[in-house]
């Protein structure tokens, strides 16, 4: 399974929660599969999906799922200690780990080589870290949502992309409809 298939499988499970989605193809794919006002699409700023999600989870009570990638977590590696030390039990970080920088042409990341993001997250102090295979992602996401405990999911999947259109929605529109959902 590749990332877009993982997103298609988990979309029905996450659609009623706040979702902060990573820049590039992940946002474009989620937008195509199941656009929701509860989705915050990142149009730029690689690496900050987990930080935005954590800030959002700490500021209010609704459940927040950040959909991140292995490359983006490597870009903002300092995020894992911050997450570990500022526990928000309404926060789930889903790292779709396909071992590559998908949006830029599938260049390999270190997470696909010797570096284990699962072990890094654990070493940073994250208490509930679950590594799973792509096929298990829906079940693991359901369990994480039911657990009411901050969870880091490292979902291993294959590298590869499908053709999707870019998001043409204005950033302020994305943000405004998202904030209305947060407040509703």
């Amino acid at each position: 399974m590749i990332r877009s298939e993982v997103l298609r499988e988990i979309a029905p499970i996450i659609r009623d929660h706040l979702v902060v989605c990573n820049i590039g193809l992940p946002s474009q794919e989620l937008h195509l599969i199941d656009d929701q006002p509860s989705n915050f699409y990142m149009l730029g700023t690689m690496g900050l999906a987990s930080s935005i999600g954590l800030g959002l989870a700490l500021a209010q009570k609704k459940k927040v799922i950040s959909i991140d990638g292995d490359g983006s977590v490597l870009t903002n590696f300092g995020t894992l200690p911050t997450i570990a030390n500022n526990v928000a039990d309404n926060f789930i970080l889903l790292i779709v780990d396909n071992g590559s920088y998908g949006s830029t042409g599938d260049q390999p990341t270190y997470a696909g080589k010797k570096t284990s993001l699962t072990k890094v997250a654990e070493a940073c102090g994250c208490e509930q870290v679950i590594e799973c295979q792509a096929e298990e992602a829906p079940k693991v996401m359901e369990q994480a949502l039911a657990s009411d405990k901050m969870t880091i999911i490292v979902c291993k999947c294959e590298s590869g992309n499908v053709k999707v259109p870019v998001i043409t929605m204005d950033p302020v529109v994305i943000r405004d409809r998202f904030m209305r959902t947060v407040q509703s």
Binding site: F40, M42, G44, L56, Q60
Partner: protein, 165 residues
Amino acid sequence: MSVSEKIVSDFVANDIEFVTTVPCKQLAGVIDAIDSNDSIYHIPSNKEDEGMGLCAGAWMGGKRPAIIMQNTAIGVTINTLVTLTQYYRMPLPMLISYRGELGEPVACQVEMAVHTKALLAQLNIPTYHFHEEKDADELDTILKHTFMCNKPVAILTDASFWKGY
């Protein structure tokens, strides 16, 4: 009231409840005051762009944020300021230690000081410079202005303002 306490009291009066910090020697007093204030959630960041991400999330979640950092951070946060804070029109007061100004003992700090205002001007970021203690009287108005216009706003605080290093 010390200048650090005054700054934090203006933050609280403007409903700022979520503050991220990356330390600077000059900001140690204000960071301590933030940390010991019960109405503010203090979340230290490992890097300033990470902190701006946290602030963006907190603001969308209904809490007014602020970031406290050194001017060297302008160099690491330009992409975030432009593609997140400005692009999505989000407010962000940035209390910045203006290292490399008169009295600076570390020569390397001057290298970033000479670019600080030019970079902020290039980014169209409203910029205020606190040089004397009385300049902080304007902080309350600057914070109101920031949350009125939904922009990142820079408050540069130099060594003279903090009365030395």
